[in-house]
């Protein structure tokens, strides 16, 4: 067998070789092929037909035939071809890459990447991985079938209702944060790669362009064109950076822009030159296209679309937190903009973008997530002792001090009855809710003063709930909080009779919990027993 492997591929790049809706993930001309016995399968294997059995899976129905892959609904069968379902397994789908006789490195390597990354993923925001086929016989991936459509058809309905845009943003950001926590950057976030479970949780599909921090990146050296889908590709992706999780937030920003305005912020360029324009030309502000777009939504979208990743949201969790609390979003000049930046500004940006490559190596998902945590301070402003409040504040200050990228969410719970309605206003007519909020802000003031917390790093939340522990745990979970700091009730009778809020939060939270006690002198009771001076929290 003649070997060509010693020769590096000489590639003639067909600018703008596209995948589905304008992807640049194909390198164009074929690379030098290794021994022909390796990759011929795709070209030689007979086309799959309904009723065929592949590695124990019966092909029931072809659901989709795309340029890159076919999707088959499949079920498990035994050696005799009889149904052999596995208990509690969801409906299955088989993705069969369309490989044109080994001449299509984009499909081959994309499939290799997906086959490598999918088994490493878990959780509700990814399709559950089931099996994969041997490349030398019949390449395929069997995974959970997520019912329903992708978000793609909704593009035709854009502009969408504003609350729906925010809702999509929250769900997709929540899914992205889960993926980033698993050390994976998706790198092809777009409506056609987003689906939803019946409970509303977003599911991210198609990992053919993704990058796993702890696995070899097979795509890194493969192609000489930027990889991604043209309209959604982040500026750093255009510059060949493949490990920055904030690239996914840029793509999400493009989606939110499109759903808000009905237009693409950067069009659908089909050349590298066209792609690079996003390095210096900013999009038309959404409010100029849609007058009822609130300033906060424009703030969020344009923040996602910042050219420099450092100026975007640092994590998807921080984006989700903002979208759930729009009234707390600190508006900057982004929110007010009604026109694009001036020709002069663009010219300057263009000049500096000329041949520019990112100066520093992009941080990995782990690095970004570690330095951009969400810290939640649970403060019982009404009942905790001054000592405890002070101690809690000092502890929170130290944590935020050591984590310059952290966001601080100050949370207080307002107890309401389980059944029936409470009088939500006290006798002075002032809302209890507002009163708690004022107390919370007052508590946090020394922290924000001393640490000079810049815009948007500090938020306040008064939760109304019958059970403080449940409310705190739920808030932390919904907002993907990394660290809860809260006070403990002291050795009080109240804790003995009512139970401890902090111990419930410690037991039920998914994140780190720090329980703070006020340092108190040990006193001797009348009967000689030692007891710690009482502090109380959430009575």
């Amino acid at each position: 067998m003649a070997r060509e492997q010693g020769k590096p591929a000489s590639r003639s790049v067909k600018s703008g070789t596209v995948r589905s809706s304008g992807a640049f993930n194909s390198g164009g001309g074929g690379g030098s092929r290794r021994g022909a016995d390796w990759y011929d399968v795709g070209g030689m294997a007979p086309p799959l037909e309904k009723g065929a059995i592949v590695d124990g899976f019966l092909l029931e129905k072809r659901l989709h035939q795309g340029g890159m892959a076919a999707m088959w609904r499949v079920s498990r069968v035994d050696a005799e071809g009889q149904p052999a379902p596995v208990a509690a397994e969801p409906p299955l789908i088989m993705k069969v890459p369309r490989i044109k006789g080994g001449e299509d490195p984009a499909t081959i390597v994309g499939y290799e990447v997906e086959q490598m990354i999918m088994p490493a993923l878990t959780g509700q925001h990814v399709p559950h991985y089931v099996a994969r086929g041997d490349f030398t016989r019949q390449p395929f991936i069997v995974m959970e079938h997520i019912a329903g459509d992708t978000l793609r058809p909704r593009l035709a309905e854009a502009p969408l209702a504003l609350d729906e845009v925010a809702e999509i943003g929250v769900r997709v950001a929540t899914a992205l944060h889960d993926l980033h926590r698993q050390h994976v950057v998706h790198l092809d976030v777009k409506p056609s790669n987003i689906m939803f479970r019946p409970d509303g949780a977003a599911v991210l599909v198609d990992y053919g362009l993704s990058r796993h921090e702890h696995l070899p990146d097979l795509l890194e050296e493969e192609f000489s064109l930027p990889m991604g889908t043209g309209p959604y590709m982040s500026p750093e992706q255009v510059q060949f950076i493949r490990n920055d999780p904030r690239s996914d937030l840029f793509a999400l920003g493009v989606m939110l822009y499109h759903f808000t305005t009905g237009e693409r912020p950067f069009g659908a360029p089909t050349s590298v030159r066209g792609l690079r324009k996003r390095l210096w030309i900013d999009p038309v502000p959404p409010r100029a296209l849609r007058p009822d777009c609130p300033p906060w939504l424009q703030e969020v979208i344009l923040k996602c679309l910042e050219v420099q990743p450092d100026k975007r949201y640092q994590t998807a969790a921080q984006l989700a937190l903002d979208l759930q609390e729009p009234e707390q979003i600190v508006l900057t000049r982004r929110a007010e903009r009604m026109v694009r930046s001036s020709q002069w500004t663009r010219l300057k940006r263009w000049f500096f973008a000329l041949g520019a490559e990112p100066l520093e190596a992009a941080p990995t998902a782990t690095e970004v997530l570690n330095r951009s945590t969400i810290v939640m301070a649970a403060v019982d402003v009404d009942h905790a002792s001054p000592d405890l409040l002070e101690q809690l504040r000092e502890t929170v200050r130290r944590i935020v001090l050591t984590e310059p990228g952290a966001r601080l969410a100050c949370v207080s719970v307002m107890r309401i009855a389980r059944i029936g309605t409470d009088a939500l206003t006290d006798h002075t007519g002032k809302s209890l809710h507002v009163k708690q909020l004022v107390g919370l802000k007052h508590w946090a003031r020394p922290i924000s003063k001393s640490l000079n917390l810049e815009d948007g790093r500090l938020t306040f939340h008064v939760l109304e709930a019958p059970d403080p522990a449940d409310a705190l745990v739920d808030f932390a979970r919904r907002n993907q909080v990394d660290h809860i700091v809260m006070g403990a009730r002291g050795n009080s009778l109240l804790r003995r009779y009512l139970g401890s809020v902090s111990s419930t939060v410690v037991a039920e939270s998914l994140c780190t919990v720090t329980v703070v006690r006020a340092s108190a002198p040990v006193e001797v009771d009348g009967d000689g027993k030692k007891s710690v001076a009482e502090t109380s929290q959430y009575q």
């Binding site: 020769k7 086959q115 041997d134 030398t136 696995l215 070899p216 990146d217 097979l218």
Partner: protein, 248 residues
């Protein structure tokens, strides 16, 4: 389920080797492959050679490293003083049976789709290092096996070559299983068990699962202080003892 523990550059470090063996057994190793350099640098050449010889009798694969060859041949006047001293000391620790075992080691061993070699596959007895993609591609081209395992380089590394002729390299994260699909060619450098040099003093080895086509690089902390104390007690150069604490 076959699990192959691949251990290389043991360098007469009994403490490290014991820790690696215990770890690999706990991980369920069913087979063993040793990529050479059993002796040199460390204070327990005889013990390490005995261990390996016993495991080879039990079916383990083992190849010859440059330090093993030097121990067999003996020092030459061209060598640096330190190297000459270590080799002469090592030789004096080994009995004829142990030296015969080292002398009989092959330069490469192929088992199914796996090639075991100390330095590289293109000239196994010449001891050229695989230090980057170009070297790795040269080595991969020299074999039809999809999996090459080599040592000699003391830092863990992973190289791969795809069907499109593009090679890649990767610095493996310890304890994370990495799929190594067989439609690519892979070159695995587990890193040194007896003298790690990547700034982490923990011993290196890798566990390969041919069925699942998957490799896991492991780091095993061991009592490097005892190993260093023995090196000093044997009168070997202090530098060889000191570097174990820092993994350099």
């Amino acid at each position: 389920m076959t699990k192959i523990a691949v251990v290389t550059d043991l360098h007469a470090n009994r403490e490290a080797v014991e820790a690696v063996f215990a770890h690999a057994r706990a991980q369920g190793a069913t087979e063993w492959a040793f990529l050479g350099d059993f002796v040199g640098y460390g204070a327990d050449p005889a013990w390490v050679v005995d261990q390996v010889r016993e495991m080879v009798e039990g079916g383990a694969a083992a190849v010859c490293g440059n330090h093993d060859e030097a121990a067999v041949i003996g020092s030459t006047p061209q060598m640096r003083t330190e190297a000459r001293m270590v080799i002469d000391w090592t030789r004096a620790q080994l009995d004829p049976g142990q030296l015969d075992f080292l002398a009989a080691l092959p330069f490469q061993v192929q088992r199914e789709d796996r090639l075991y070699v100390h330095a590289n596959a293109f000239a196994p007895s010449q001891w050229e290092y695989v230090q980057g993609r170009a070297d790795a591609v040269r080595s991969i081209h020299a074999t039809t096996c999809h999996y090459t395992f080599c040592g000699h380089v003391h830092e863990p590394a992973l190289y791969h070559l795809g069907a499109t002729g593009k090679a890649g390299d990767f610095k493996p994260t310890p304890e994370v299983p990495i799929p190594l699909p067989g439609y690519r060619q892979w070159l695995v450098i587990p890193g040194s068990a007896g003298q790690p040099r990547d700034g982490n003093p923990a011993a290196c080895y890798a566990m390969f699962e041919p069925g699942a086509q998957r490799i896991t690089y492991h780091r095993v902390p061991y009592d490097h202080e005892s190993a260093a104390a023995k090196i000093r007690a044997a009168g070997l150069p202090d530098r060889l003892a000191a570097r174990l604490a820092e993994g350099v």
